[in-house]
Amino acid sequence: MTAEEENKVLLFWSGEIDESEVNDLLAENPDAAKLLAELRRQANLANPDEIQIPRPFAAIAAETVAAEPKVVRFPTYRVWAPIAAAAAILILTTIIVFKPDPQVDPTVSRRAAIDAEIAELEIAVAELEQSSRFSRRRS
């Protein structure tokens, strides 16, 4: 008998599949019928005696839980979205408001001053060169 066939017998025995699904198997395979008989035998032997519960578990549990204070769960998702939006606005505002102005940036203005000085010196050097060529020609 295959494992699949044994499983069918088990599921039939537990009432989870209909008799029509195992009729052929039980009729044609003596091992299937033997397995079913063994399962019923073992269930009969293991059938538990009546047991008395020592306390009313359900009533005590219901009493215990019903008496507990209810925990009010605050929907935190309603808080995080506005906080995130406010944080984004704050960061953008900070960037826009405190962005350095190149016109008042001392680094920028010093560089510009040096560039201007260099430009003036270059002009002066060019003029000197020109005047020295002129004086060489005259002499």
């Binding site: 397995l35 063994e38 578990f57 219901a62």
Partner: protein, 192 residues
């Protein structure tokens, strides 16, 4: 008693809303089954009573997490099983620290709660033998057998309780059935 999924769903909804009667109605049908399951699992009526109570309270506190995917019974048994596992682990840790001076382990033992247990032992050796044989099964097979033979729980529910695929559960039952048959035969109990 919840007789169908729709009725059960209504009782669960009322229990979730805090209706004490609904909470009790939800659990009451399973008191004996869960208690018996834990007596057999823990081997001790006193401990089984405490763990049953803890499991029931936990089930009610976590009712909001019950998703109606299977039967309520399977979900409840899953909680009871997990509580018993925690208890056994705790007990095993404590048992190494409760050895008396003469070296004996002093774990409390309660008498068998089943009425007429002595009488049954005398009257039905075969029944006792199968219990012994079940006790010798590998843990996972024994778990399936206990739920099926002693609690009459379906294989699909067992698969939910032990969190294993259905085919795995069926495989364990097939193996366990063979072992039980061999064990009974070994002690002279052959099928008629």
């Amino acid at each position: 008693m919840p007789s169908d999924p729709e009725n059960e769903a209504q009782i669960v909804a009322r229990a979730q809303a805090g209706d004490r009667d609904a909470m009790q109605a939800l659990l009451q049908p399973y008191e004996t089954q869960v208690y018996r399951f834990l007596v057999n699992r823990l081997g001790n009526a006193h401990d089984a009573a405490d763990v049953t109570q803890d499991a029931f309270v936990k089930a009610l506190r976590n009712l909001g997490k019950y998703e109606h995917r299977g039967q309520f019974r399977a979900w409840l048994f899953q909680i009871a099983r997990n509580e018993s596992l925690n208890f056994i682990q705790k007990r095993n840790r404590m048992s190494t620290a409760t050895v008396t001076e003469d070296g004996e382990n002093r774990m409390a033992q309660e008498p068998d709660p089943r009425p007429g247990a002595d009488q049954q032992l005398q009257e039905s050796e075969e029944r006792e033998q199968i219990r012994e044989c079940v006790g010798k099964l590998p843990e996972k097979e024994g778990e399936v057998v206990r739920l099926r033979l002693e609690q009459d729980i379906t294989f699909r529910e067992i698969a939910e309780i032990v969190e294993a695929p259905l085919n795995t559960v069926l495989g364990r039952m097939r193996n366990a059935t063979r072992r039980l048959r061999d064990c009974l035969e070994l002690h002279g109990f052959v099928p008629a």
